[in-house]
């Protein structure tokens, strides 16, 4: 019963917030709706017993989107005074969202302790005694090692590409030459001078 309730709640909010992501005129609102959609998708994953993917959704997507959000805020010309002006007007709406999120967290914990739903058809049934993260780890580094390494190459290409497109050698930069520093001896750098009184120092 709790599963059905949770499914409809999460699914409805995912679709509604997905639609709002598109329809919001304010880009900041769009991003916030997107975060809500990701949270609820994570709830659906918990419903299926895929707790690792749920955590990934929250950490990677919500985290990444938070960074995206910062970019949006930085790059767009948004008048924050105007945004703050409507605080009292938006308070009931914000509270409603907060209540929904709270209800979802309670439901999420509830379905997690009630166990995952049993799907009629499952290509790869989850074994009860192995946690998600163990199962993924056991496959990722054995059966899918080829793809894992290839994904590493994709990241390498991304890194090389970012450097190729943005790096430029700047003149006048005094780089550190560690080898030269280490080879320098006290006698090269320090000089003892018996300085006569009353005369200037010759450097």
């Amino acid at each position: 019963m709790i599963h059905v309730l949770a499914f409809y709640l999460f699914a409805t909010v995912v679709i509604a917030s997905g639609a709002m992501t598109i329809f919001s005129r304010n880009p900041v609102h769009s991003v916030l709706w997107l975060i809500l959609a990701f949270f609820n998708a994570a709830g659906l994953m918990i419903l299926l017993g895929a707790e690792f993917i749920a955590m990934l959704l929250v950490i990677v997507y919500v985290g990444a989107v938070a960074v995206l959000f910062m970019f949006v805020v930085m790059m767009l010309d948004i008048d924050f005074a105007e945004l703050r002006a409507g605080f009292v007007n938006y308070l009931p709406f914000g509270l409603a969202i907060a209540v929904i999120l709270l209800a979802e967290i309670v439901l999420g914990v509830g379905i997690w302790s009630a166990g995952p739903v049993e799907l009629a058809q499952r290509a790869a049934p989850a074994t009860a005694d192995v946690s998600n993260i163990q199962a993924i780890g056991a496959l990722l580094y054995t059966r899918y090692i080829f793809l894992f390494e290839a994904a590493g190459l994709v990241l390498l290409v991304a890194m090389v590409g970012a450097i190729v497109l943005t790096h430029r050698a700047r003149g006048g930069v005094r780089g550190q030459n560690i080898d030269k520093q280490n080879r320098r001896r006290p006698q090269d750098a320090v000089r003892n001078v018996n300085q006569p009184v009353g005369q200037g120092v010759e450097l």
Binding site: Q121, A123, T142, R143, Y144, I145, F146, L147, A150, A151, L153, V154, L156, V157, A158, V160, G161, I163, V164, L165
Partner: protein
Amino acid sequence: MIDSASLLMVAPELVLTVGALVLLMVAAYAGDRMAKVVSWMSIATLVAAGLTLLGLPGHGGDAFEGLYRADAFAAYAKVLIYAAAAASIVVAPRFFAPTAANASGALRAEYPILILLACIGMGMMVSAGDMMTLYVGLELNSLAAYVLASFMRQDTRSAEAGLKYFVLGALASGILLYGISLLYGFSGSTSFDGIAVAMGDKLSNGLLFGMVFVLAGLAFKISAVPFHMWTPDVYEGAPTPVTTFFASAPKVAAMGLTVRVAIEALGPGGMAWQQIVIFVALASILFGGVAAIGQTNIKRLLAYSSINNVGFALIGLAAGTPAGVAATMSYMTIYVVMTIGSFFCIIQMRDRDGNPIETIASLAGLSQSRKGLAAALAIFMFSLAGIPPLFGFWAKFLVFDAAVGAGLLGLAAFGIAASVIGAFYYLKIIKTMYFDEPAAEYATGTPIIENTVIALCAAVIVFGYLLNPVLDSASAAAAAALF
């Protein structure tokens, strides 16, 4: 599990990976001074990777529990890909060399390395036995391609090309992934064999939708109509050596991938994809032909020409028979030779100061100032137009023959009729070169290597029929590996 047999079968990818990583270190420490050395070492790496195909990677079967297939089809496509990639490395140094207008220009060492990394991705694409290998390979290739498109970052057109390619490519990847997830959801497997079993069982609506999305994503990668819109802009904006690369190697890889997915994964679905492929082929031929007529930029024109040619190659796939697949692969081979030849000619188009020119009008009178170059370009254009006795005619003949063999008479008849439209703009270039009032002459002095490649391509186009026994048996063996 990692077993030594699997590792032996991915030898081409291993050789390329090790080569790319070592050369990356050379480039990082020695800088762009070593760019030429890195280029030649990259070509040596490609040759080495190609030589491994003679062993187990050419006929080994499944590796990594079906994720990767080392068969004759993959080997055939890889030979083409490596050759095209090597050609686009050869052509680069002179293009990026310092000119009067751009004194700081120089070949950067990352160019050949990015092409090597793209080749690993393309090798994975044509060897894919699983949707995940397909996707990772495709992304590896695409990501390198986005960077290559905007390689001349000071040039706004190049930056624009890279950005456009990236945004539209990401959209296409999304469409493809959506299709893959539908196929996975409704078949319970990401492997081509597993999907084939599910499709042979019962073609549900979910599988059908997945198939449509996957084909749409792949059509973007081969730039077939209606997913072609990025092609002219990207081909025009990207530096010419990069355009040479885009028009050859990734096209072969994406076409090989499309053929493999259509035959191996979606094949048992009662050829449900056939009408999609027929539509895409017809639309590409027609649109690629008509839209090219008004072009004044030769790179844009060749972009439309590539759309047009992909349409013809897809006719072979639409037949869905071993003969059809063999015809498609032969078509891509001949297309790559013609394209590389044409682009090597285009790179010679430079004004007195060494700046590249891209207008078709500037070709006027080329037959008087540069007889050899004009003759070579004329041969490539005649061949692209499919005029016998050049080799381009044989390519078209093979696909039409396969279509007729599979009972697609209407498709073949339409293709033949529509190839006349293409002939118009190819002949227009020849007319400009031979009959128009001479325009300003190009800079003289061409290096031996580029002329050798042009001469080699022209020789293949003219005397290609001598290669027919080899080409026929190789493409037939490649096609047989899929059925």
